[in-house]
């Protein structure tokens, strides 16, 4: 094994890239769960976003339009979940699992003619001056724009939840929907909006895989990233900045194991590929999870 072949600067830089799709999906799910809804369909929404984004990007030649298409695709799929769980009061866990299966199937169908095509290039966005700083420059300031969009979204969600009136109402709805209703807030409306935001973010995360990381379309290409995103929300105790940490941790282990594989580590490839998932489970077990939103996963019906 040749550890010297691993370049630490590149390692950290690619960690940020590897973490971005999970971070995008997770920040959306965090908002959904803070509103009191448990949407287990993140995986399905991600892969639907991946194919929607890919189709739009290939046909228009613009990755930016691709990401917008991915967000819309994810949001539409999540709206299906929203209508079923919020208006028709179906069980959130079962509906979320069904949404994952549906999304996997739908994306495979939509992607039939797109296998083997390359996505239009999405150039890195070197921040002038800052990217020339040694070490820090390549790590932080030489990425594609979506890496920054992801970090910006985390910051925006944090500020929204902490400082805005709408964020306060959203937390109130997730904490105690009966009380929020009694005070005259529209529980269902707030939750539908949160669900659509979650869907759009998951779509962006999926499109990041098909347009930037791979960048190709293959069936089932999210490979469990949606589930990891769900786990990271719990790991983060429903707090945005800890979510960023969790995503980087997972991204870090992923990149490290790839580098170890390339360096010819004496551990079986299967074990190395397992590492990020094992690390996630281990962290979830060791960490004491914070307090979940009080009404998480409960259906709300204004009966009285």
């Amino acid at each position: 094994m040749d550890l010297s072949s691993i370049n630490p600067v590149l390692l950290v830089a690619s960690l940020m890239v590897a973490a971005t799709p999970i971070m995008l999906a997770a920040i959306g799910e965090l908002v959904v769960e803070r509103a009191g809804v448990l949407n287990l369909g993140v995986e399905g929404m991600m892969i639907t976003g991946a194919i929607c984004g890919f189709i739009v990007a290939v046909n228009t030649g613009s990755p930016w339009l691709g990401f917008i298409g991915a967000a819309i695709g994810g949001a539409i799929l999540s709206l299906l979940f929203g209508v079923l769980t919020q208006l028709l009061l179906s069980n959130q866990v079962a509906t979320g699992l069904a949404l994952t299966l549906f999304g996997l199937g739908l994306s495979a169908l939509m992607g039939q003619g797109y296998i083997g095509i390359k996505a239009p290039a999405f150039p890195d966005w070197d921040v002038p001056l800052l990217s020339d700083i040694p070490v820090i420059g390549p790590i932080v300031f030489q990425h594609d724009p979506m890496v920054y969009v992801g970090i910006f979204l985390v910051a925006a969600v944090w500020a929204f939840l902490k400082y805005s009136r709408a964020g306060l109402v959203l937390r109130a709805v997730g904490e105690n929907h009966e009380a929020a209703h009694a005070l005259g807030y529209h529980v269902i409306r707030v939750r539908l909006l949160a669900i659509m935001f979650g869907g759009a973010c998951a779509g962006l995360g999926g499109a990041y895989l098909s347009l930037v990381r791979v960048p190709q379309w293959t069936e089932g290409m999210t490979a469990g990233a949606g589930w990891i995103a769900l786990a990271i929300v719990v790991f983060a105790s429903w707090r945005p900045w800890r979510l960023l940490l969790g995503a980087y941790l997972f991204g870090g282990v992923t990149v490290l194991q790839l580098n170890l594989q390339a360096a010819g580590a004496a551990i079986g490839v299967a074990y190395l590929s397992m590492a990020p998932y094992l690390a996630t489970i281990a962290v979830l077990v060791i960490m004491r999870a914070g307090r979940a939103p009080g009404s998480l996963g409960q259906s709300f019906h204004a009966s009285r």
């Binding site: 937390r171 904490e175 009966e178 009380a179 005259g184 009080g294």
Partner: protein, 507 residues
């Protein structure tokens, strides 16, 4: 100024199968403290929700200061000057006081300004409150203050209070009444809903009595006896539980330095509780919610195992026994929360009967259920305790709170316990059902069983207990004979100032 503040005319609201309000009309004047009385299901909640914009009436109208008033949602009601303090607090545990208050306001200012105004109002009305504290950590009295201050910050013309005192100590009630009188003197009208008739007599100027959705009487509570008001509510003569003279026998259950860690984060640890309970007595345990009541019941029922020697039943150490083993030997318990703890909401009454009665009623053989026998037992409970339900096949959820309470208490009593522990046996139950439950507990004691009744309703405890003790932060005061205890003495016991009594006596 001839218009009243709020005039209700012919309000009617029907739900499928039940008329909640039928042609309800009355006036509330400016600065008036108006009581709304009625049993459970008399339509009080529907009526106040109509005023607060949560329920739309089928017909009838309201005028506020002479102008038509039809709030489509609480926001509109708040904007018009109607504020409400809810029975089950509409608070958010994980948020701080200032955030909770901001949620109840239309156009809240910045957090720092809210904090300043909270401090100002809490000072003005003598309601101390720290705006940065997390609501989940506050006591019931403090939580209520949050609700009241939230209302006061909007300068309401009408303040609706739904059962505000059920969770307060007598001292806290006194503070609340001071605040309400001050508000009323400043011109704020108060619509006050309570089961506690003595409180209404002390506070209110007018009372409207609802029965089955209709206004049946209007009276001046200061000039009407509590008993008369109760009979107006019930519509028949009220049966007052009677204590039969009975002999107190040997000690059956003794607690020896019972200590236990709080089972969860918002729980209370039990500290060195020592107590002897004798056959044929009713021991009342008072205290404000959250001072260890749930934990004490859990320790006695076996849900929370303790050190083996901490509990002795007829001389045998039982601290480590499981609930069914305790049932087998005659120690039964009925917890406070009927929906989800004492009963499984979505299961039938028969199934719910099986849950605790299997052991003593022999409802199983080698793990197989005797359905017919179980059904028979459930029917017995329904009949003996006048549970209003079509039959034992109905889900527990379909019963009203009072009826389900009768069922879960009856289920334990019908198993002939030797010691019965009940927590809040008449919580949220109307006057006649409450009287029936208390009578059943007294009857059980006169048959020689020991009854431990934990309650926050001091009137109830004084009515049925032979001895009274108070729980405070997980400690139990020494029991004293209930007869002759004054409200002041009880208040001191509840406040945990056991030592102060000495000073008080000698002073």
């Amino acid at each position: 100024m001839t218009d009243p503040l709020l005039r209700l005319t012919g309000l009617t609201k029907a739900y499928p199968g039940v008329i909640a309000n039928k042609d309800v009309s009355f006036d509330i004047g400016r600065g008036e403290v108006h009581a709304l009385l009625g049993e459970n299901g008399a339509g009080k909640s529907t009526l106040v929700k109509t005023i607060y914009g949560l329920v739309k009436p089928d017909s009838g109208k309201m005028t506020l200061e002479g102008a038509p008033f039809q709030p489509a949602e609480p926001r509109a009601a708040r904007a018009a000057g109607v504020a409400m303090v809810f029975q089950h607090f509409s608070l958010f545990d994980a948020m701080n006081v200032a955030e909770n208050i901001a949620l109840g306001m239309e156009n809240p200012p910045a957090q720092s300004e809210i904090a300043a105004r909270v401090l100002a109002v809490s000072d003005q009305y003598g309601l101390p409150l720290d705006p940065s504290r997390i609501v989940g950590e506050l006591s019931a009295g403090e939580r209520q203050r949050v609700e009241i201050i939230r209302c006061l910050l909007q300068d309401p013309k009408l303040l609706i209070m739904d059962e505000p005192t059920s969770v307060l100590t007598p001292q806290e009630v006194a503070i609340l009444f001071e605040t309400l009188r001050k508000l009323s003197a400043e011109g704020t009208a108060i619509l006050y809903i309570s089961h506690k008739l003595e409180e209404i007599r002390a506070l209110c100027e007018t009372a409207t009595v609802l029965r089955l959705g209709e206004v049946v009487a209007t009276c001046d509570p200061r000039a009407t006896s509590a008993r008369d008001m109760a009979e107006l509510m019930v519509g028949s003569t009220l049966h007052v539980p009677e204590k039969a003279a009975r002999d107190v026998g040997d000690v059956v259950l003794s607690l020896k330095n019972l200590s236990a860690k709080a089972p969860h984060r918002f729980g209370t640890s039990l500290r060195n509780i020592s107590l002897d309970v004798r056959k044929g007595e009713v021991l009342g345990i008072g205290g404000v919610a959250g001072n260890g009541q749930d934990e004490l019941v859990a320790a006695l029922s076996g849900e929370m195992p303790t050190g083996a020697d901490m509990l002795h039943y007829k001389g045998k150490a039982i601290g480590q026994m499981r609930p069914n083993e305790r049932r087998e030997i005659g120690l039964l318990a009925a917890p406070e929360e009927r929906m989800g703890h004492a009963a499984a909401p979505d299961m039938s009454l028969t199934e719910n009967a099986i849950m605790t009665a299997t052991t003593r009623q022999r409802l199983t053989t080698r793990g197989f259920l005797h359905w017919a026998k179980a059904r028979g037992f459930a029917e017995q409970v329904i009949k003996a305790f006048d549970v209003r339900t079509p039959g034992p096949q109905n889900a527990a959820r379909s019963l009203s709170g009072g009826n389900l309470q009768k069922f879960v208490i009856g289920r334990e009593i019908m198993q002939d316990p030797e010691v019965l522990v009940v927590n809040q046996p008449t919580w949220g139950v109307d006057a006649s059902a409450a009287a029936a439950i208390r009578q059943a507990l007294l009857d059980l004691a006169s048959k020689g069983a020991a009854v431990i009744c934990i309650s926050q309703d001091l009137d109830e405890l004084m009515e049925i207990s032979d001895r009274f003790a108070a729980l405070n932060e997980g400690r139990l005061s020494a029991p004293r004979p209930a007869r002759g205890l004054t409200v002041d003495e009880i208040g001191l016991m509840l406040g945990g100032a056991h030592d102060m009594e000495v000073a008080h006596d000698s002073a």
